[in-house]
Amino acid sequence: MSRPKVVFEGVSKDFEKDGAPLAVLQDVDLSVGEGEFVCLLGPSGCGKSTLLNIAGGFEAPTRGTVRIDGEPVQGPDARRVFVFQEYGIFPWASVWDNVALGLRHLSSSEQHRIVGETIEMVGLSGFERTYPMELSGGMKQRVEVARALAVSPDVLYMDEPFGALDSLTRLSMRSELIRIWKSRKVTILFVTHDVDESIQLAERVVVFSERPGKIADIVPVDLEHPRDLGSPEYGQIKNRLYGLLGVSHSV
């Protein structure tokens, strides 16, 4: 495996609920390699978003630490960008200005070059002056991905980024994400509760138990991209994941 990039060491998180502590995460140990694509899969409410928020520096763990490149996470950092479950782009700014958000310190010619390239990469050329309100859900999510990629982050945290999209758009966004991941070699932690999504994207799927979230198992997906969704290997992994989640696959 490649050099460890994001390392969770005994991470636990308790929230307060009606005066009593509510254990949301318990002793999460996980090492994500540099350039690796990892999916965090688990039932709703098991603490996936919480874990990602801790890694992103938006929340502090109750116990344990998260290290990136060996340094403990102290707070948010523009080198590690979050793509939110609900749209995090600014509705008051045009597509162009949204994508340029993280480039404020660069010269305007540099900004121009990078924003133009990134917008083209996510297929939004021609929409530079458009406001998010006038975009479809998929396009908004592309803007958010572009805003993140524009700063050339070394880690992307994605919290069910495609959850609000229709299934066709979701499929195409996934293959675009794989394309981008391959060309950028960025480390991706991708939260989902969709078994198929995790098998289509991840090199390793980290399966969480019900709350309090613990790692139930880590399932490698050794399939080449583009992945054949009808292959027997795919089916086996799927069965295994459903088994770990405690639901039977057949309905």
Binding site: F58, A78, F82, F84, F90, P91, A93, L101, G102, Y131
Partner: protein
């Protein structure tokens, strides 16, 4: 039918008004026709324009000053808990005091004239604007705050790129409320403590021979200008930067 009904309703009310004048049969209450003649008289006397300008002048400057102070203050108080703890109790304590109650002090400080009028309009618009801006900043969604932190947006940049634009739709709503209040207050202030303006025109018409036709005509003028002001300020809601804030509401 849809276009006609507001007109029909207005005509119905006018007819009732006329009928009521006939039934009561006194000399004081003007009929719609008396009012129309009163309006013509006001227009011909040239006096109306001067009073309209005087009222609008006070409202414009008082309102702009209030926006100039209230929006930045509201942004800071809304964003910073430390500032809020110090400043908010004073704001909340002064807010329930009717702007009308300030009239004696205003005249004492500024004398009869525009200064006192502008001050009163400032007081009347300042609180809705400041409190509205504060609430807007406090309501900024967590994902937007986190986006800003993730990309290291802070200091003045934070105000310019995130807090102000995020709060803008609600700020515009509070400006609209404030302008409405300002227009109510200017008339009251002019009735009590000024010697020009539409409010003064009303008092003057009453004192100089109980000219209720002129009074009611002036009331219509006040209403019409109020509508125009509201229409004008609502134009702010159309800008691309704020339209998102009025969707699905």
């Amino acid at each position: 039918m849809k276009v006609l009904s507001p007109v029909a309703f207005g005509l119905l009310l006018t007819a009732l008004w006329w009928l009521a004048c006939g039934v009561k049969g006194d000399e004081i209450m003007p009929t719609p026709l008396d009012t129309l003649y009163g309006f013509v008289e006001l227009v011909e006397s040239q006096r109306l324009w001067g009073d309209i300008v005087a009222s609008l002048f006070r409202v414009t400057w008082g309102f702009l000053l209030a926006a100039g102070v209230g929006i930045p203050l509201g942004l800071v108080v809304g964003w910073s808990n430390r500032v809020s703890v110090a400043v908010n109790p004073t704001i909340q304590g002064l807010r329930p005091i009717s702007p009308i109650a300030w009239i004696p002090l205003a005249i004492y400080w500024f004398g009869i004239g525009d200064g006192a009028g502008i001050f009163l309009i400032f007081v009347a618009s300042f609180f809705p604007i400041t409190v509205g801006t504060m609430a807007a900043v406090r309501g900024i969604s967590l994902v937007h705050q986190r986006s800003a932190r993730n990309f290291g947006v802070r200091g003045l940049d934070l105000f310019r790129r995130v807090l102000l634009p995020a709060a803008m739709p609600q700020i515009i709503t509070s400006l609209r409320i404030a302008l409405g209040v300002a227009w109510l207050v200017v008339v009251a202030a002019e009735m009590v403590g000024m010697d020009s303006g539409l409010g003064y025109l009303i008092m003057d018409a009453r004192n100089a021979g109980a000219r209720y036709d002129l009074i009611v005509a002036t009331m219509f003028v006040i209403g019409a200008i109020g509508i125009v002001l509201d229409v004008l300020i609502r134009k702010l809601e159309r800008f691309d930067e704020v339209r998102w804030g009025y969707e699905n509401r």
